[in-house]
Amino acid sequence: MQIGKLWFRDLALPVFGCCILSFGGSVVQAQDVAKYRVDPSWPKMPLPNKWIMQGIPDLVVDSSDHIWVVSRPRDVMPDENGAASNPPRTDCCVVAPAILEFDTEGNLLKGWGGADYTPGWPALGNPHPGAGAEHGIVVDRQGNVWLSGSSRGDSVQKFTSDGKFLWDFGHRGPRPAPGEKLEPLKQNNQDTDTFPGGVFFFDLDEDAHEMYVVDAKRVLVYDMDTGAFKRGWGGHGIPLSEIDNDPTPPYDWKSGPPPDQKQFAPALHCVHLSVDGLVYVCERGSDRVQVFTKQGKFVTSFFVHPSTPARGPECGGPGSTTYGMCGTTYNLTFSHDPMQKYLLIADGTNDKIWIQDRKTGELAGSIGDNGRMAGQFHWIDGIAMDSKGNIYTGEVDTGKRIQKFILTNGDGVSRLHPHE
């Protein structure tokens, strides 16, 4: 196995779906490697209308290889939207809409959405919701855009690709009144009717017409057409009735990886379905990925850089001057080979993409590091891959950008199937 950085921001790793060659009776493992290089000219700048992107918590690639980006408009700071005032205070900029569609060349094709776009739009009426705003995005085979919100009173809404409202998932908790002082939410992992804190992450199983939601310490499955609850489970596949509603205890991160435990350790920060029908859950509170069948039977789990603190008192949030963030599993995508051999895991604490074998969890390589230059990351939060194997990433906090990493496969040319 060859792993190594070739040059600036390049990564080499075993090519996805590597082939076996036979010569004179001997079996040779082909050692072609996949290589990635950041594309500093993607997306194309400047955006129209003096638009500026904001925090990017999630992005996806649709069936036409278009990249759909969630940009949280209310992350904007006064020094970023001076052109929005009348008269303009500065030459640039105006905050971009919440939903942006790009092509693989970096052209902006479409933009719509933002605060109060619909009566159920995320964080309705809150001018500064921070991370509790627009969050998860999925684009289905028909091209409809599904968007979740992660504030109290939020849910999932479905739109056409042009932004026409189609459907609301419901299951909303109460929305606080403006200025209302809020008490911390208490977990109720047995309640499948409402999501008091909104919905952060979800995915669709379009063949089964099901929506998967991760919330608190559980995975819940709903009918994606009617919103009716179907089934759910907790960490290691335990039934909903056995999930506790207590805070997850801290651990001493300096003495080793997070302790194994039956219960999920929030935050659960992604859910995705693989081609072979498995459910992958980012368990950020344990630096871990847990894998299940669609019926909730536990399959396996593996750590992702577990020397990183995953939870506890030494975890800082946005703007913290004391501690950095915690947890290593912010989101993931599957490699584009037919068997999805690898997971590419966005780690916003180490600011890397970890590439691990999807079956064994074995580390195959990494991309990026903490920084502001092309190919580096500040709080990488979103990751997606197109059909040619190119990687797209999104950053939150003050990162506020998307990047593209081109699969060069050694000769600078992207291919539909890099192993061919």
């Binding site: 500093p40 000219s41 997306p43 194309k44 700048m45 400047p46 003096k50 970023e80 640039c92 950008r401």
Partner: protein
């Protein structure tokens, strides 16, 4: 933003850049030519993505109206 001013009279002749975090591969804008007699070499600014062709150095130091197209910032670019 980088503004380009005439050193003697302060006339704004162009600008490039803007608020953001990206390498901007668009052409920098300059609405007036910067020329001098002894060379016709082009002045170029190299960014991470390539070259910016802002002006031609073709004559003595004087400001001429150049063949223009409108740039994205409302100025014009040659």
């Amino acid at each position: 933003m980088v503004s380009i001013l005439d050193r003697h009279d302060g006339t704004l002749v162009g600008s490039f850049g803007g608020n953001g975090r990206y390498a901007d591969s668009s052409t920098g804008s300059m609405r007036l030519q910067w020329t001098r007699k002894e060379t016709s070499a082009q002045a170029r600014w190299k960014t991470a993505n390539g070259f910016r062709n802002l002006s031609r150095l073709t004559g003595e130091y004087r400001v001429d109206q150049a063949p223009q197209v409108t740039g994205s910032d409302g100025l014009t670019t040659s």
